[in-house]
């Protein structure tokens, strides 16, 4: 019993400790590693100079190269083409019969913040208490050693947005690569956007027993008024943050002015309310999306929609205000019984036709983020071409997130997030053969492959 308690304490300490301390302790106390099945420590792969040769290269940004090579050096894509110079000492990966893709990006997840969604509070760091949490940053909650990291990435997803949920302002999203021993090592853009749950025009949820009126049912106009009241609060908050910034700036240039005490919420809000960085508004229905568009225009913000299930119905509003859509939850059932059976399957195709900039995202908590390619694939069955479907999970999200100079395609100079597969990466039959994140060759192991290895040869022991 005593031993158990000690190990638990040690485990707590290890979680809070630095990598160096962990490494030392792991060496010192062999029994600790026996407590972990290994999957809790994501392997970070191996750096080097790599050449993937003779492969079909789907660059996404340009034409498909039917037989070419990709050179990876110093964490970046150093060369792409049919006749590139392979430096001496480069490790060659034979790509014959293989296809090279850029790593996929899921632009709306809670990955690393939510290990076990149901009934295990100890593994949940998604939602803070209270309604305004602009200073809550996902990058400070992401667990680099979550088993969701290795399970997700070995399906070709190399980068995700992880964001907090709940309240009116949930906090700030992080753009992370799915590799690294620390949060900093994972971060591509540690504070990538502010999550605002745009107030809904809510008519439906206030019906009680006894039918109309009995439970304080809300008619459309009343719901609209309530939404507008909530929006006014949000506007006031944003204006206050702008004024805060002006007052602070004024003091910096003239120290004779009164000093305004630091405010954690305003500090966090300033880059977003001043339009320097994007705000992710969650909104699903046409009416709410149009509300976001108006709010973004009124407040001169950089806006992105998360959700966007009916965004195709608000194309003009979105395009006029340069609002892109991170479309989530394609597997949602049609919200109304009389909606077509493929209502959401077909939504990305409709956005494409309407000229809306969009990415396809799972919107998942963690474990199911690896389904991203198949969600894009289904959009491919209902309106997108396969090329558009692939773009919706690679270059489109990179562009929307403002990192197209770093991610989203196979181009020289970009971060070497590269996947080598034996077929179309959006096809559930396809197997990933090799992958790189930040130029590191990632072992294709996960909590799942490790459990598989542990049991695949088990035979029943004789009685």
């Amino acid at each position: 019993m005593k031993n158990l308690i000690n190990i638990k304490k040690l485990a707590d300490f290890l979680r809070s400790g630095s990598v160096a301390v962990i490494a030392m302790l792991m060496l010192a106390v062999g029994s600790v590693s026996a407590q972990s099945d290994g999957s809790q420590q994501n392997k970070t792969g191996r750096a080097g100079t790599f050449a993937i040769t003779n492969a079909r290269i789907v660059t996404v940004s340009g034409e498909v190269i039917e037989k070419g090579s990709v050179l990876i050096r110093d964490g970046k894509i150093a060369a792409v083409g049919t006749s590139i110079q392979i430096p001496r000492g480069a490790e060659t990966i034979k790509g014959d019969g293989m296809t090279v893709f850029p790593g996929m990006i899921d632009a709306a997840t809670n990955l690393g913040l939510a290990e076990i969604s149901g009934g295990a509070n100890a593994t949940m760091d998604v939602q803070e208490v209270g309604s305004i949490n602009a200073n809550a940053r996902a990058i400070k909650g992401v667990n680099p050693h979550s088993s969701h990291v290795n399970v997700t990435r070995i399906n070709g997803i190399t980068t995700v947005i992880s964001f907090p949920t709940g309240g009116l302002i949930s906090g700030q999203a992080a753009l992370i690569n799915l590799n690294g021993s620390t949060q900093d090592e994972m971060a591509v853009v540690p504070e990538a956007g502010l999550i605002v749950n745009f107030p809904r025009v809510a008519t439906g949820r206030r019906f009680g027993f006894g039918g109309p009126g009995a439970g304080g049912g809300t008619d459309f106009n009343a719901a609209l008024r309530r939404r507008d009241e909530q929006l006014d609060e949000l506007k006031k908050l944003f204006e206050a943050a702008k004024n805060y910034q002006k007052a602070r700036a004024a003091y910096e240039s003239d120290k004779s002015l009164p000093y305004l005490a630091t405010d954690a919420q305003y500090e966090a809000l300033v880059p977003y309310v001043t339009g320097q960085k994007p705000i992710f508004f969650t909104a699903e229905r046409e009416i709410d999306i149009k509300g976001v568009a108006k709010f973004v225009a009124d407040m001169k913000l950089k806006g992105i929609i998360i959700g966007g299930q009916e965004a195709w119905k608000a194309a003009d509003d979105l395009k006029k205000n340069n609002i892109a859509v991170i479309f989530t939850n394609i597997y949602s059932l049609p919200t109304s019984q009389d909606y077509p059976y493929d209502y959401y399957f077909a939504a990305p195709g409709k956005m494409q036709s309407a000229g809306i900039k969009f990415a396809v995202s799972t919107g998942e908590g963690g474990g199911e983020v690896r389904d991203l390619p198949y969600q894009a694939g289904i959009a491919g069955a209902f309106g997108l071409t396969p090329e558009q479907a692939l773009r919706s999970v690679t270059l489109n999200p990179a562009e929307i997130l403002g990192v197209a100079d770093k991610l989203g395609s196979i181009e020289v100079g970009k971060i070497a997030n590269v996947v080598v597969a034996d077929g179309d990466i959006l096809d559930p039959r396809t197997k990933i053969q090799h992958m790189f994140i930040g130029g590191r060759l990632i072992p294709l192991t996960s909590r799942h492959t490790e459990l598989f290895d542990s049991f695949k040869n088990r035979t029943a022991s004789p009685k």
């Binding site: 109304s336 019984q337 077509p340 908590g365 088990r458």
Partner: protein, 483 residues
């Protein structure tokens, strides 16, 4: 709580629901009687390989010929050149159509029957058909060690509920082990906890039930042998369990942890019956040899995991590992959402471990049919079997393929072209209905009819959302009492 409110809201906007039902009934009415000849398809039989450029003749609901250049006679001809045909998909774990899922008052509710809660108008049926699913095992929830009796049905949307039941299918029943049975996530303050509360108690609850069933059977045997004079009091709870002891009712047992499911196999061995399927069984890969020895089938999710502690050791290689042991494996949905895309779940069995294509297809067709005891009449494309087939635009394992047509016994229950036509008509009809003065609410006040009704968003983070909504069980708000 709001789930119940949603339900009431639905009732308050009855005119819209009525409009919707009219619309989909109209769509379902495309089901056509008569013989069908599907020409020139790539036919994935799910039992005898894949046949190129092949015709299938369906007469009187049965597949009568499979071959090349068949003549149509009086049959309606469908040109399937460039298309794929598979058997109808069968889901061995669904709660579609059920107005109630859990009778959670007792831990042994074998007297209940989901056939008493069938809603033949459930829109989930049409959506399942649009994903190529033609048949399903409709199960009671998992709130109980021994739950209610199940229904084995075909999705004959547009017909009466009795027409859905497969008449000669063996009867079944739901069992469950683990956290849902323990009611771990269903604590209601002020409510006395229900026995059992631990895995120890669950084992004893099941053993107690079968001990009583064995005694009950003995009492009847003694009476029939005239050893006793008074007939035993008829016990509706124990009668289904006697059927299990006599091998006449198939047990479908929900469970997660390998130890609990192995314990159930041991109980079955103790009382001399067989477990039909271990349902969910996300850790079955840990004790596959024991399952093979017992002879149980397994019905799993292909790759769901991590949604609760019980699912944390789930791995997507399970289908492959069980298949390698020769166990009959099916891949189920347990979801009105996932039932629409089981073809892509089957495809994943090829990815994880490398199940061959036909065996992967079997996991959503012939294998569930075998597990449900209907393998002789459906589940594969063979002469003599029911004409339950799906025509796909491309390979059913490609993400870019769609269902064109779904047939049950030769009748069309989903057709994409027909759907497109009806859609336009229904939109026009709905617009007209909404304009009708009768359907606009009062100009002021708080009545729900006032102004346009805006659909609420429904995000399926929880893939059981739709099912939970239908349970009407306030205890299931947080976690499905069946998954």
């Amino acid at each position: 709580m709001f789930l119940i409110k949603e339900k009431i809201m639905r009732k308050t906007s009855i005119f819209l629901v009525f409009a919707a039902l009219c619309m989909f009934a109209a769509t379902a009415a495309t089901a056509q009687n008569g013989d069908v000849l599907i020409k020139n398809a790539t036919v994935m039989t799910a039992s005898k390989g894949t046949l190129q450029n092949t015709d299938i003749l369906i007469q009187n609901g049965k597949i009568t010929r499979i071959g090349k250049n068949l003549t149509s006679g009086s049959a309606r001809v469908i040109d399937a050149t460039g298309k794929y045909v598979t058997p109808g998909i069968i889901d061995a774990h669904s709660h579609a159509m059920l107005d109630a899922i859990n009778e959670s008052s007792f831990s042994v509710t074998s007297m209940t029957d989901v056939k008493d809660a069938l809603d033949p108008d459930d829109i989930s049926i049409y959506r399942a058909l649009a994903g190529g699913t033609t048949a399903a095992l409709l199960l009671h929830g998992s709130a109980n060690s021994i739950g209610g009796q199940s229904a084995t049905i075909k999705f004959k949307y547009g017909k009466g509920k009795d027409d859905f039941l497969i008449k000669d299918a063996p009867t079944g029943i739901k069992f469950a082990m683990g956290e849902n049975v323990k009611r771990s996530n269903f604590n209601v303050p002020g409510m006395t906890p229900r026995y059992p509360r631990t895995r120890m108690g669950v084992v004893e609850t099941v053993r107690d039930a079968f001990t009583r069933a064995r005694d009950y059977r003995q009492a009847w045997a003694d009476f029939n042998a005239k050893k006793t004079k008074t007939p035993p009091r008829r016990d509706l709870q124990l009668e289904p369990l006697v059927e299990i002891l006599e091998g006449k009712r198939i047990v479908h047992a929900h469970g997660y942890r390998s130890d609990e499911q192995l314990n159930l196999l041991k109980i079955a061995d103790e009382f001399g019956f067989k477990i039909g399927t271990l349902q969910h069984g996300l850790e079955t890969y840990k004790f596959a040899p024991e399952i093979a020895k017992h002879g149980a089938g397994v019905s799993i999710f292909i790759d769901s995991w991590s949604y609760k502690i019980e699912g944390y050791d789930a791995i997507p290689f399970t289908a492959y590992m069980l298949w390698k042991q020769g166990i009959v494996v099916s891949i189920n949905s347990d979801s009105d959402e996932r039932i629409r895309r089981l073809n892509l779940d089957a495809a994943k069995a090829m990815k994880y471990g490398g199940v061959p294509e036909e065996d992967a297809l079997k996991m959503v067709t012939l294998n569930p049919a075998i597990q449900l005891g209907i393998g002789k009449r459906t589940g594969s494309i063979e002469v003599g079997k029911d004409g339950d087939v799906v025509i796909w635009t491309g390979h059913p394992f490609s993400p870019y393929s769609r269902v064109e047509t779904t047939m049950i016994e030769g009748e069309v229950y989903f057709d994409r072209a027909a759907d497109a036509q009806k859609r336009t008509a229904a939109e026009a009809e709905k617009a007209a209905l909404l304009k009708d003065k009768m359907n606009s609410g009062p100009a002021t006040g708080s009545g729900p009819g006032a102004g346009p009704r805006i659909p609420r968003e429904s995000i399926v983070h929880d893939r059981d959302h739709a099912d939970q909504e239908k349970t009407g069980d306030t205890h299931t708000d947080q976690e499905g009492g069946h998954r």
